[in-house]
Amino acid sequence: MATRTENVVKMLKDLQASTPDVEASAVVSLDGLIIASALPADVEEDRMAAMSAAMLSLGERTSEELQKGKLNQVFIKGDDGYVVLMSAGDEAVLSVMARKDAKLGLLFLDMRRTAETIGTLF
């Protein structure tokens, strides 16, 4: 029987397979620790996990402070692509790196579905 981590890794691989714009993805705990990942070798997993969890929390506080309601996602656009963070249940964060020409509507939709499924596991 597959472990929860194996199940999450499979979900991340499915997300990357169904959305070609996704370059890499990870699920991290709110404590900033990695739960599962499909990241390139040159990405420092530990640092990425801590930054993702902290960034999501900062986004939640900002949205709350500026009275913009419950946070849906944190969206970072760089010259070479995107990083999108979404909460996956109460205890995890889904972090996705996407190409600069990514179709964002499709990306957000697939991420939301994946985040909801992951959220049921934690």
Binding site: D31, A50, R61
Partner: protein, 162 residues
């Protein structure tokens, strides 16, 4: 006391007060959530790894600890610890090798005790990362340091070999 010495004393006292505020960590946790501890740990670890490059290498934990404390000259007072019934310092839990350590002194303990600040806040996480990073460099082995117990006389920590 000379004016210059008085100024140094006051500056040091103010500095430890600022550090005690940082050690408290409530404001950081309010913004960055629970991940602030991990972020602080990784920050300390990075510096520890760089600092550890100045120290010789050994895979022996006892020797590594001795070398680290010698290099840092009285800043850390730490030793390995085991229960009376345990044969060895190193034990295995959940498939991971671990060792308990007692810290009788460290820079954060001094600050927390001087200002009555609760221990095991974010500043402790920087110190854990720093100490872990130093050991990692000396032993060429990935480790993680966490607090099992903090107290006025000493702190008990767990060093995990990754």
């Amino acid at each position: 006391m000379s004016t210059e010495l008085e100024t140094y004393k006051n500056t040091l006292a103010s500095m430890t007060k600022i550090m005690s505020i940082l050690a408290h960590g409530h404001s950081q946790e309010g913004l960055f959530g629970r991940a602030v501890n991990r972020m602080m740990y990784l920050t300390g670890e990075k510096i520890g790894k760089v600092e550890g490059e100045k120290i010789d290498r050994t895979s022996d934990l006892q020797k590594a600890l001795g070398m680290l404390m010698e290099q840092e000259k009285g800043v850390w007072v730490a030793e390995l610890w085991k229960n009376e019934e345990d044969g060895d310092y190193i034990y295995e839990e959940d498939g991971t090798r671990k060792v308990r350590m007692v810290f009788k002194d460290c820079p954060v303990r001094q600050v927390c005790l001087a200002h009555g600040t609760e221990m095991n806040g974010v500043f402790c996480q920087i110190a854990h990362g720093l100490f872990g990073g130093l050991l990692e460099s000396i032993m060429d082995q990935k480790v993680a340091l966490t607090a099992e117990h903090t107290g006025p006389n000493a702190c008990k920590k767990i060093l995990e070999f990754k």
